[in-house]
């Protein structure tokens, strides 16, 4: 755009603001030295007043206008020796027509592929030529043959293939009610076609049932090499290789391999993967992943990270409606000529293993070739052993169970110990994870204790033996009782106190835990030399306990002592040392001593990386903690990265349904909330809750945590009833299992206050806020940042009640406390700042309001993502403060941006969006722009 045009545009628009008769003078005045410009402008202004064909959108077009001969005459067209009969299929890669050889000698039907007249891109043409070239090299009974090819008189390339009258393989199998064995035989033919193509250095890349037809005689025919890739470009002779820039390749999401989704290098293993999906579908009637209705990023997450359901489990999938699913299961098994139970039995074992091997995420771990896959299937058909082994993790698990076949109880005890430690409690749950890591290590070392526990249970009266229904509580009580009687064996007694103490800690029963852990520590200090490794462990555990209770100073003392001992014991590197370093770092973070905390976090991560490499739980643990730390200092983007890395490691190690995975999802959800992305947050929290409910009993603190966060996101989205329901559940669990003044309980009470405040019940809100404030002061002291946050909320409530002077006092106190803990750039500074701005706005002091809103915008913009609703909100109120000062143009841009962000985030019906719209309307009213008032009023009414 030229500068002249800019000037013209500016003056033109300014002139339009004036009455018609004043425009000419205005223009002449503005363009005193540029008579040409003045003429140009005057002619434009004159044209502005005239009617224009553009005034009404080109809404309708008469049929006669669009009538063309091409679409009607295509059926008569001759291409090479063929005459087109009708269209068969069309796609971005060209049209496929049914055509017939025109001479009397042959009556051969062919499928003719052609890029139609009209618009074609060079790339499409090149691809068509490449496909023709690929097909000409493939000569296999299970691949549709190339028959002829050429160029039309208009210069468009075409080719003719064998016309296959058949059905897609999945439909064929179901219609013929083929059994599992018959399906496998057909599938082996597909493998042989693929194997052949691979030998010819061709990767198909788009295998799916609709590209695999089966003729009436049961012959498999592979079609559509439209996006196939040849591994040896020389095969294309002189033709140029089509430019398939990465990211431009079409793919079918349901069949795409992880490497295709990620746009990585595609090898023959991608075809193996697609074969795996097709086999899965043919045998079970389901696809391994349900991606309907998912967004691209969700699909990527699922395809690249979620383990597929085992085929034998998939066939028994039970959705919400049981009867319906029974019918589905029946339908599927009938189509396979069998019954649901038999089908499951058939799939379990070898077929599960074979399919899952083809579907592995890592291309290198799939079958090396289609032939190998076919061989395994054919061995299976003949009852011979197959080459595929189950994934190593499962394999290890099985071996583990085999070694511990003493009885059901031992399994329960092992499970209890593992799960007990796996149970994560607090919402910053890293610390208990430290306990888990250690526990897992020690569980193996302390088999002696485990055996002892076992003996004790088994020695009890068999009539009382509660078998599978034994509860964690009962087992623990027995454990403690037995430990009490171990006076003669202080080492083992101490170990038992320590173990049971940690389990109680994980169950959130801190008083019991405290007495047991401290007894363990005392005992150890009595029986061991100072500096013994067990003493360091007890010190660590007691420190962790105090952290859990929010007694950070005491926690620091114990952890420092533990750290010092461990440094002497382990000298260089050790996992145990890294764990204590991390625990101490967390406590220091809570105490807001970030400079001391950060190096500890990073050193612990380095240490674990050195010790274990990248995929290890200790590394995942450190990554998560570092993420948490970064979140608390407002480095959200980095935090997200670390959380995701951590999540991926846990998923890889434990699969999807594991407390660790749930914990990471929970943290990611929390982070998304802070960043203002409520929808993403909700998805994370729902997933975490689902996992937790499948593992824990309903009264578990982790479940309370999920409820609490779900309430939070529902509130963000103004689903207040749902939010209140979640909060009540969270509060009843937390009150039942946590200490009365536990930080998590006060958090829930505070959130209830927020909910009441937002739904206008100020009395109830005040009551909850006060309760939470008292709990926090009692637990954390008057100057704790949590107290500052609480005061902020109370201040905002007072703003809503229009008690401005009290509000100002409270918010200033809140800001004072924040300033103790955070520097000026910290995003948490936004909240009291914003509140103070609101007071000024409401008390007609727009200049002060503007100052505070700008500051809020600054602190929030440092870390929030673009388009976060909070930013939208701040922009909108900032606009309002500008509008009050009659700075209309600037106000307009902030108000509209703010409105658009909120509209994008919440839609038009949300109170925040409506408020923002009202501010826009107000602006235009004050600015005297009735046209715009009208436009936005209309949206407001909508």
């Amino acid at each position: 755009m030229s500068s002249e045009w800019k000037i013209i545009k500016e003056i033109f628009l300014e002139a339009l603001e004036l009455e018609i008769d004043k425009r000419e003078n205005f223009v002449r005045n503005k363009c005193r030295d540029h008579p040409d410009r003045a003429d140009e402008l005057l002619s434009l202004l004159q044209a502005h007043e005239q009617k224009s064909p553009l005034d009404h959108p080109l809404q309708t077009v008469k049929k006669s206008f669009l009538d063309d001969d091409w679409s009607r005459k295509i059926s008569d067209r001759k291409i090479g020796p063929f005459k087109i009969i009708r269209e068969l299929d069309r796609g971005g890669m060209g049209m496929i027509y049914l055509a017939e050889r025109d001479d009397d000698q042959f009556h051969q039907k062919v499928a003719l592929k052609l890029i139609p007249a009209g618009i074609t891109s060079e790339n499409q043409t090149l691809r068509l030529i490449a496909e023709r070239q690929i097909l000409s090299n493939l000569n296999h009974r299970n691949i549709a043959k190339l028959l002829d090819g050429g160029i039309t008189e208009n210069g468009h390339p075409w080719f003719a293939m064998e016309f296959i009258e058949g059905l897609p393989i999945d439909i064929y199998c179901d219609e013929k009610q083929l059994s599992i064995s018959e399906r496998l035989k057909l599938f082996i033919d597909v493998c042989s076609a693929i194997q052949y193509a691979h030998q010819k250095l061709v990767i198909h890349r788009d295998l799916k049932p609709s590209n695999i037809l089966v003729t009436e005689d049961g012959i498999v025919k592979l079609l559509d090499f439209g996006i196939a890739k040849t591994l040896n470009p020389e095969d294309l002779n002189d033709h140029r290789v089509p430019i398939t820039k990465t990211g431009l390749l079409p793919l079918t999401p349901a069949y795409a391999s992880p490497e295709q989704i990620r746009n990585e290098t595609i090898t023959t293993a991608a075809d193996i993967y697609q074969l795996g999906i097709i086999l899965y579908e043919l045998l079970t009637g389901f696809r391994p992943y349900d991606i309907t209705g998912k967004t691209p990023s969700e699909i990527e997450q699922i395809v690249c990270h979620t383990e597929p359901t085992r085929p034998s489990t998939a066939v028994t999938k039970i959705p919400a409606d049981r009867t319906e699913s029974d019918q589905t299961a029946k339908k599927i098994s009938t189509a396979r000529h069998t019954r649901p139970e038999l089908l499951q039995k058939h799939l379990r074992g070898d077929l599960d293993t074979i399919i899952l091997k083809a579907l592995r995420k890592d291309p290198e771990r799939r079958y090396e070739s289609a032939e190998k896959l076919a061989t395994d299937l054919s061995n299976f058909l003949h009852g011979q052993s197959v080459s595929a082994h189950p994934d190593s993790l499962i394999y290890r698990g099985q071996k583990f169970v085999k070694r511990h076949t003493i009885g059901v109880l031992s399994t329960i005890v092992m499970l209890l110990l593992l799960l007990g430690y796996a149970a994560t409690i607090t919402w910053h749950s890293q610390q208990t994870e430290a306990a888990l890591l250690q526990a897992q290590q020690e569980t193996l070392k302390a088999e002696q204790v485990t055996d002892l526990l076992m003996e004790m249970f088994e020695a009890s009266d068999p009539n009382e033996y509660p078998g599978l229904t034994i509860t964690a509580g009962e087992l623990l009580e027995r454990g403690v009782q037995s430990a009490e009687q171990l006076d003669g064996q202080p080492e083992i007694q101490a170990q038992m106190f320590d173990l049971t103490g940690r389990i109680y800690m994980n169950l959130g029963q801190y008083e019991l835990a405290e007495s047991l852990l401290k007894r363990g520590l005392d005992l150890r200090q009595n029986i061991f030399q100072p500096g013994h490794v067990d003493i360091s462990k007890s010190l660590h555990n007691v420190g962790v306990l105090y952290w859990n209770q929010g007694h950070y100073q005491t926690a620091e003392e114990y952890l420092r002592e533990a750290l010092q001992l461990k440094m002497e014991i382990y000298k260089g590197q050790s996992e145990s040392l890294a764990t204590t370093m991390t625990s101490l770092a967390i406590v220091l973070k809570e105490l807001r001593r970030f400079d001391e905390a950060e190096p500890l976090y990073r050193d612990a991560l380095e240490m674990n990386l050195d010790l274990f490499g990248e995929t290890h739980e200790s590394v995942a643990f450190s990554l998560n903690n570092l993420g948490n730390y970064l979140e608390s200092i407002g480095e959200y983007r980095q935090a997200e990265e670390y959380y995701l890395q951590s999540l991926n490691i846990y998923r890889e190690l434990y699969g999807e349904n594991h407390p660790m995975v749930a914990g990471r999802l929970n943290n990611l959800g929390g982070l998304q909330s802070v960043m203002g992305n409520s929808r993403e947050a909700m998805a994370y929290h729902e997933e975490a809750l689902r996992i937790r409910q499948s593992i824990f009993d309903e009264m578990h603190p982790d479940i309370a945590e999920s409820y609490h966060h779900l309430a939070e996101v529902h509130m963000d989205l103004e689903y207040f009833d749902e939010a209140e329901g979640y909060l009540e559940k969270a509060l009843s669990i937390r009150r039942a299992v946590l200490d009365p003044a536990h930080p998590n309980t006060s958090q829930t009470v505070n959130l209830l206050g927020i909910l009441k405040s937002r739904t206008g019940d100020y009395e109830a809100a005040t009551k909850f806020y006060q309760e939470s404030l008292e709990m926090k002061i009692k637990q954390l002291g008057e100057d704790h940042s949590e107290v500052g946050i609480q005061l902020n909320n109370i201040g905002l409530l007072l703003v809503r009640q229009e008690r401005f002077s009290e509000a100002m006092e409270t918010l200033k106190r809140s800001k004072e406390i924040m300033n103790i803990h955070y520097d000026d750039d910290h995003p948490l500074q936004t909240y009291p700042t914003l509140g103070i701005g609101h007071i000024y706005l409401r008390t007609d002091e727009p200049v002060n309001a503007e100052h505070y809103f700008r500051e809020a915008l600054r602190t929030q913009s440092i870390s929030a993502v673009e388009g976060s609703w909070l930013i939208g909100n701040i922009k909108s109120v900032l606009g309002s403060s500008l509008s009050q000062q009659k700075k209309f143009e600037e106000a307009e841009s902030y108000l509209l941006e703010g409105y658009e962000i909120l509209e994008e985030h919440f839609g038009n019906n949300h109170a925040r969006t409506q408020d923002a719209l009202e501010r826009v309307v107000e602006l235009y009213r004050d600015w005297d722009k009735p046209e715009e008032v009208y436009v936005y009023q209309e949206i407001l009414i909508e």
Partner: protein, 185 residues
């Protein structure tokens, strides 16, 4: 296949890769042209074609909207409006060439009962004027395409082009005056 590909290209486009337009436009062109033909000559056999409805229908048919961010929909409308212009202009030029100044075809504008009609020449001259405007101010041309050829509202236009509503208003006023003058001279 077309749907997945268009969806994918649209995602690439939204993520900042403007080069994909070269690939995307012909695909959307082809599909919309087919849809227009189907509307007029297919089973429904309507006698008139609603351009705005076609743009929206194209979105439903061509884009796998379950898999795509909401804002991509708005971008698609912008692209489809541009395609609509190409389709109509191509037809107009073709018809014009065939008729060689004979009976001029009428394209109905605006109100239903055909009270306002514009002829082929108008379409072609608007198109040619837009080509000249494009050299001066490309964004204004996009705004005109959205408003006139795609029948998008001001708000839809603003979202389609990622510009604010006031900017759309200003561009539209300026472009309308400029085109008016070009068309009358």
């Amino acid at each position: 296949m077309g749907k997945a590909q268009i969806t994918k290209l649209l995602q690439d486009h939204a993520s900042g890769n403007r080069n994909v337009l070269d690939e995307l436009m012909p695909l959307v062109y082809e599909k919309m042209q087919q849809m227009a033909r189907f509307r007029l000559f297919g089973e429904s056999n309507d006698h008139i074609l609603n351009t705005n409805a076609l743009v929206h229908e194209a979105y439903l048919k061509l884009v796998d909207f379950d898999r795509i961010e909401w804002q991509n929909r708005d971008h698609f409308f912008g692209i489809a409006s541009q395609v609509m212009r190409n389709i109509l202009v191509d037809y107009a030029e073709k018809q014009n060439a065939q008729k060689r100044g004979g009976d001029l075809q009428k394209v109905t504008l605006g109100e239903k009962d055909g009270s306002k009609e514009v002829n082929l020449i108008d379409i072609i001259s608007i198109h040619q004027a837009l080509e000249r405007l494009e050299k001066i101010d490309e964004r204004q041309v996009r705004v005109v395409e959205c408003r006139f050829f795609g029948g998008l509202t001001i708000k839809e236009t603003s979202k389609a082009l990622d510009i604010s509503i006031p900017t759309v208003n200003r561009d539209w006023k300026m472009a309308r005056a400029w085109l008016n003058r070009e068309l009358s001279s």
